[in-house]
Amino acid sequence: MDKLTLLWQSTSLAHFELGQIVMMAVGCLLLFLAIVKKFEPLLLVPIGFGAILTNIPLAGFSEPGGLLYYIYYVGIETGVFPLLIFMGVGAMTDFSALIANPRMLLLGAAAQFGIFGTLFGAIALNLVPGFEFTLKDASAIAIIGGADGPTAIFLASKLAPELLGAIAVAAYSYMALVPIIQPPIMRLLTTPEERNIKMAQLRIVSKREKIIFPLAVLLMTILFLPSATPLVGMFCLGNLMKESGVVDRLSNTAQNELINIVTIFLGLAVGSKLSADKFLTLETLGILGLGAIAFSIGTAAGILMAKALGKFSSEKINPLIGAAGVSAVPMAARVVNKVGLETNPHNFLLMHAMGPNVAGVLGSAVAAGILLALVG
């Protein structure tokens, strides 16, 4: 009989808690969204699986000595994984649309209003009983509005590690939902005539400009915003490897093998933070709500800025491209292209939207640097 009790005690069945079962269901939901609905599958598959693993009773994946504990400790607590991913993103980014029309940087800047507006909103949520966000928490939540996974994870790991799971899940879920969240806002804020505006073709950018650009961005970040240099620095390194053309091997590794390896570990580590006591809280609901608001505000601010810019500009600007200012590369730019085509099937905005799109990546990295400097 003793042996039977012992055997029973060594099964998970005897130790399951309700929270763990719910969190495993959340993990399965993430797997479903990734596999069936194709929502950001590259990240949601490892995140969802990590969530299942971390909630297994007795296995101790996320306790000292467990696999996920060390992956999190090595990669996210130190900030290394998001930065390596950012290097890969840099190696995949083509800045020529932005260099050809640098004013698009203003659209990328305007869309960051989503971040700072949400920061305000997160603090205002403290008026509702049950919410107690500190300024650090609020900043980490607000960065979801930057629509940039690695930036959000980097900032959250520095400012509010206990909210990291919810923030990462919200950030990646909403990035997958960009084609659903953005178009209604875009249609609401623009008239059909505005959506119909055709933009002048972009000039061809020389290779030398593309090589100097990341160095110039880095120099300015060093001078004015050193707290953003981890993000911007790795991003510029990746971009320089690509544009210089002399280290194709390194550039290929950064944008393929390395980013893939790191993505697996990053996803697992984020999943390990989806434990019942951290995730099944009222705060998570608040974070999910605020994330959606952040995306919407960012989109609206970008469009309104594009309208304002179009009024003062000699060249015509289609206000739709402002919506691409919330990074989410290249999804947001594709959405702009699609909404543009609905109005005029001959008006291709993809290349024009790539300018504000990559500007948004820089903008959210800069915003993260500001938050780190002022709140961290």
């Binding site: 800047a109 300024l135 030398r208």
Partner: protein
């Protein structure tokens, strides 16, 4: 609790103002930097033989380097893009 939230809200408001100003300032400076780079590139064109050949091709905006007219290239890439999205 209440006065605490008020002071936090004030601080968040300040962050909103300061943050947005710095983002705009930084990216505006970057616009200036990109314009300087473009100006310098135009002023001192690359003088390697292959580069000057490229420059020559660029002078004729209607055709790309392979001799296919640019509007045709644009139309084909757009069609490919559309096809990929549908399939």
């Amino acid at each position: 609790m209440q006065p605490d939230v008020t002071s936090l809200l004030l601080e968040a408001g300040m962050l909103l103002l300061v943050g947005m100003s710095v983002v705009f300032l930084f990216l505006t400076l970057l616009i200036g930097a990109v314009n300087v780079i473009a100006w310098a590139s135009a002023k001192f064109p690359e003088d390697t033989p292959s580069a000057s050949k490229n420059m020559h091709n660029r002078a004729a905006p209607a055709t790309s380097q392979s001799g296919v007219p640019a509007p045709v290239v644009a139309a084909i890439s757009a069609a490919v893009e559309q096809y990929r999205r549908q399939h």
